[in-house]
C-alpha cells in the first residue's frame, strides 16, 4: 500500500539502523512521546535494531492512559443513567475507573455505544430524541479537531439532547513537565507526527532551545521511527538542539490551519489533571463559555467522588519515562490486558500493553 509499504521495507530499515550505528559514539536516552509510536516500536521490535548505546523511553502520549480516574468515574455515573445513550471510542471501554469500567456498565444494561467518529454522536442524538446523548470526548491535539467539529455542529444545528464530557490534553506542556523533573533522563524527543500535523511545530522550538534538547517530528511506521532516532542521534552527537521534521509528507511547520480555526472557536487552554502524573499547567482544552450548554459535566453533575485505590501499579512513572513497564513487580502477573491494574495495560497504545503483547510474545 502506498505510504505504508515503503516505510516497512526491510532493506531500508536495515540501511537506517546501520546509519544509526555508524553515527553513535555515546550513550543517549530518547523519548518517543506518542503511544502509537510506542506500539510500533514494540510491534516491530525496533529496539533490537538499535545499538546498545541508545535507550528509548516511552512517553505520556496515550490519551486513554492519561484520562483521570475521576473523569472515568463520572463517565460511568452518566452511562448508568437510564435516560442516557453514552458513546465513546472503543479504547475507553475497558479503562478501569475506581470500581468498574464502561464495558461492565454496558453488560449491566447501560446504553453504551462505541463510535468510530465523534460525528456519529450527532446521528445518535437525532435517532434518540427522547434520550440524552453524551460523548466522552478525549484525545490529544490529533483528535481535538474531530471532537471540536462535533461540538461546533451540535451548536450550529441547535441539537438539544447532546452533551460532551471533555478531557482533552496537549502535548508540549507535558514535554516541559517531563524536562522540568529533576529525575528526567530524556536527552532528545521524537515528537508525535499526527499531533504536529494539526498544530505544526513552532511551539516546540522554544522548548528545544530552553532545555537544549533535539526534537524531531516523527511518523509512525518502522522506518519513520528509525529515521527520527537517526536525526535525534546526529543532533546529539553534533551538540545541536533544534526542531527537525522527519514526517514532512504530512506535517507543515504551521500545521493544519483549518483545524486550528475550529479548535480556537470551541476550546480554550486550561490547567489539566493527567492520570498518574497530576496537574500540568496549560495542558488541557476546555469548552469556551459559548459552548457551556453542551458541557456534560454541568448537565450531569458528578454525585460520587471516589478516592483513588492504592495498587502496585507504576503507570504514573511509566508515563513520565521514569520506569519501563517490565520494571513493575505486577507486570504480566497480577496486571495483564485481561486484568489490568492501570490504563497503560488497557489501551493498545499503552506502553505496558505494548510490552505485554509484543515483547512477551517474542520472548
Amino acid at each position: 500500500m502506498k505510504y505504508i509499504d515503503e516505510y516497512r521495507d526491510r532493506g531500508s530499515i536495515e540501511k537506517c539502523s546501520q546509519r544509526i550505528a555508524e553515527a553513535v559514539t555515546g550513550p543517549w536516552t530518547i523519548m518517543e512521546i506518542c503511544g502509537g509510536q510506542t506500539r510500533s516500536i514494540a510491534k516491530h521490535g525496533l529496539e533490537s535494531l538499535l545499538p546498545s548505546e541508545i535507550t528509548l523511553l516511552h512517553g505520556p502520549g496515550c490519551p486513554v492512559c492519561v484520562t483521570p480516574q475521576s473523569i472515568l468515574d463520572h463517565a460511568m455515573e452518566i452511562a448508568s443513567n437510564p435516560e442516557v445513550v453514552f458513546c465513546t471510542f472503543g479504547d475507553m471501554m475497558r479503562v478501569p475507573g475506581t470500581n468498574t469500567d464502561l464495558a461492565h456498565i454496558k453488560a449491566e444494561g447501560g446504553d453504551v455505544r462505541i463510535i468510530q467518529s465523534p460525528m456519529e454522536a450527532l446521528n445518535l442524538a437525532r435517532e434518540n430524541a427522547d434520550k440524552e446523548v453524551v460523548f466522552l470526548a478525549i484525545g490529544f491535539e490529533t483528535t481535538a479537531p474531530a471532537n471540536a467539529m462535533a461540538l461546533y455542529q451540535s451548536k450550529q444545528q441547535g441539537i438539544k439532547n447532546i452533551s460532551f464530557l471533555v478531557s482533552q490534553v496537549l502535548v508540549p506542556p507535558a514535554m516541559e513537565s517531563i524536562l522540568n523533573s529533576p529525575h528526567s533522563k530524556v536527552q532528545g524527543f521524537l515528537a508525535a507526527g499526527h499531533v504536529c500535523t494539526i498544530m505544526g511545530f513552532e511551539e516546540y522550538e522554544p522548548i528545544a532551545q530552553r532545555y537544549q534538547v533535539p526534537i524531531v517530528v516523527t511518523g509512525f511506521e518502522p522506518l519513520d521511527i528509525l529515521m527520527g532516532i537517526d536525526m535525534v542521534v546526529r543532533q546529539l552527537e553534533e551538540g545541536r538542539h533544534e526542531v527537525e521534521n522527519q514526517y514532512s509528507r504530512s506535517v507543515q511547520r504551521e500545521g493544519n490551519l483549518a483545524a486550528q480555526k475550529i479548535l480556537n472557536e470551541v476550546f480554550e487552554v486550561i490547567p489539566k489533571q493527567w492520570r498518574g502524573v497530576g496537574e500540568i499547567p496549560s495542558s488541557g482544552l476546555g469548552l469556551k463559555s459559548v459552548y457551556r450548554h453542551l458541557n456534560a459535566a454541568l448537565r450531569f453533575p458528578q454525585k460520587i467522588i471516589y478516592e483513588p485505590l492504592s495498587t502496585n501499579c507504576i503507570s504514573g512513572q511509566v508515563l513520565q519515562g521514569l520506569k519501563k513497564p517490565n520494571e513493575c513487580e505486577a507486570f504480566g502477573k497480577e496486571c495483564t490486558p485481561d486484568s489490568p491494574l492501570g490504563a497503560t495495560m488497557v489501551s493498545s497504545e499503552g506502553a505496558c500493553a505494548a510490552y505485554f503483547h509484543y515483547q512477551n510474545f517474542q520472548a
Binding site: K15, V64, S117, M149, M227, R249, N256, A258
Partner: protein, 78 residues
Amino acid sequence: MCLAIPGKILGISGENSIMPMGKVSFGGVVREVNLAYVPEAKQGDYVIVHVGFAISILNEKEAQLVLNTLDEIDPETR
C-alpha cells in the same frame, strides 16, 4: 488513539450540504471520510485519516525526498 492511516480519495461528494465528504480507499476498504480540514483535497490525493476526518494531504515530493536520504548513505550508491 492517535492512530491515523493513509488512504486514497476515490471521489468527493456534495451530498452532505454541511461539510465536504469523500470516499477514501484504505487498501481496498472504502469509507466515507469528512474532508472539512483538507478543503483543497481532490480526487486521487492521499490523505491521512483519523476518527473519520482527513487531517492532511500527503505530500509525495516530501515523501520521496525523505526516502532518498537513505539511498544517499547506501555504500553501493555513494
